[in-house]
């Protein structure tokens, strides 16, 4: 790690928080590793901050010329229930089944 002096964008706390939001359980000894990697990614992207964007309009989509893609309100065939449930880890004939949620 050659850039110890550079301020980290991502802290260990951030890693734990993001893992929690993503429902991932991370062993404590992995946190440093992910911190390093995430920091690298964000650091790379942060180079964009150096670009002068004065007078450039904000973009909301990479396909800047494409707009207004609609479909008409017309019925299409749905899947059969059997097909819809096929890949579910747990299901019965009609429903997906998930651990109890109240």
């Amino acid at each position: 790690m050659g850039n110890k002096t550079k301020k980290k964008i991502i802290t260990a706390e951030d890693v734990r928080y993001v893992a929690k939001l993503s429902r991932l359980s991370l062993d404590e000894d992995k946190i440093g590793k992910f911190q390093e990697q995430l920091d690298g990614i964000l650091g790379y992207i942060a180079q964009l901050d150096e670009v002068n964007t004065d007078g450039v309009l904000p973009t909301t989509h990479v396909l800047s010329s494409m707009k207004n893609v609609f479909r008409e309100d017309e019925l299409r065939e749905s899947l059969t229930t059997e097909a819809a449930l096929k890949n579910a880890p747990e299901a019965d004939e009609h429903f997906f089944k998930v651990p109890k949620i109240i």
């Binding site: 707009k67 893609v69 749905s78 059969t80 009609h94 109890k100």
Partner: protein, 483 residues
Amino acid sequence: MNTKKSKYETVVGLEVHVQLSTKTKIFCGCANGFGADPNTQVCPVCLGQPGSLPVLNRTAFESSIKVALAINCDVQEIVKFDRKNYYYPDLPKNYQISQFDMPIAYDGHLTVPGEDGSSRDIGITRAHLEEDAGKLIHDEKKPFSYVDLNRTGTPLLEIVSEPDIQSPGEAYQYLVILKHIIKYLDVSDCNMEEGSLRCDANISLRKRGDKELGSKVEIKNLNSFKAVRDALLYEEERQEDILSEGGRIEQETRLWDEKRGITSSMRSKEGAQDYRYFPDPDLVPFEVRSGLVETIRENLPELPVKKIERFAEQYKLDKKDIEVLVSERPIADFFEKVNTECNNPKVVSNWIQGEVMMHLKDKATNIEGLGLSAKALAVIIKLASGGTISGLAAKDVLNTHIDTGDDPEVIIKEQGLEQVSDEGELDVIVNKVIEVNEKSANDYRNGKVNALGFLVGQVMRESRGKANPKLAGDMLKKKLERK
């Protein structure tokens, strides 16, 4: 309400979710309908299968613009969709497609009448379009929950009010007005029992005159407008009790318990939700051209407030009558069609509020389902007011017409309901009645005016209801006064 004179004032904001009644879902061609067998209206898009792509339903978009205009919002020129990320088993993609910073519309208002006859404008912060989630079904005896994803992807328009509402009663009125408008636009069933209209409320109290808002409590599980009002009344009192004893209101979400009539804390998930909104790369932005907005605006139906004003002006009806007639757009339209044919507003209004509504109730149907044309009702009304049939016979004709669909004129002929309005024909009967009822006849001659009613009744009986009662009365009077 006991808080009117209290040193606190109530601040309420409402978030209303309206399911749009399009034929298909918002981003796929699956049917959008309530009550189908579980997981029969699903496809790769609404199940969030990898590789599937959402495409926006044009009708859902335009219906949203309709609502936005009707509640006086500014429709935005550029609209985009964002992903709202959270984990819950009713949300197959683990994000909901919603709108964050570029919603369909901002900054509207609704004019809400108060109890004292005045009215106030309640601000509307924004309206945005999103997809509904699926439905979870719990069975207490089982260690798992069932998921039905039919509802996933139902177009939902969320309408967020400003914290402008000052009382539970005003919140109730706001909802009534909003629902009335949306029903008029014919873009949603607005059925709270089926969930096509849902409402969350937030409420805080502050010392009268304070600028800053108090900590607010969000209330969920409100299944009717009455529940909204009752829950807010309860919460208003609960918060006032805490504050006046020097306590503090905790910012939290509480659930309304309809049976017990109380709210209780929904164990707050530690930390605020972090939805990490970001633009949905699967959906390109939408540019709303002013031409489209103007076309939609021009084609908006006449909304309730305007209709009420016009009915008062054009038909000179009472406020009460107008309220009933405009309560539903199809009824108002029906009234106008009937009246165009027979031009007798008060009588048409009475017929619709009386007989027609009774039939609607009996048959549990709406005006389209009743099988009564405006023309037929107008014919019946004209025949009754012109004296061809009696008022009573007219009701019979209407019943028969609704049951059989036969022409009113045919029914009258077949059942011989035509009133006898011919003096010659009635003469025999009138003479006979005077003869048989000598005592009453003499009573009348001696100044007992009431006796006439009895004699008219006898003429009606003798003619089996067909005599024109007014004519019968005139003839009786003439004959009795002559001697």
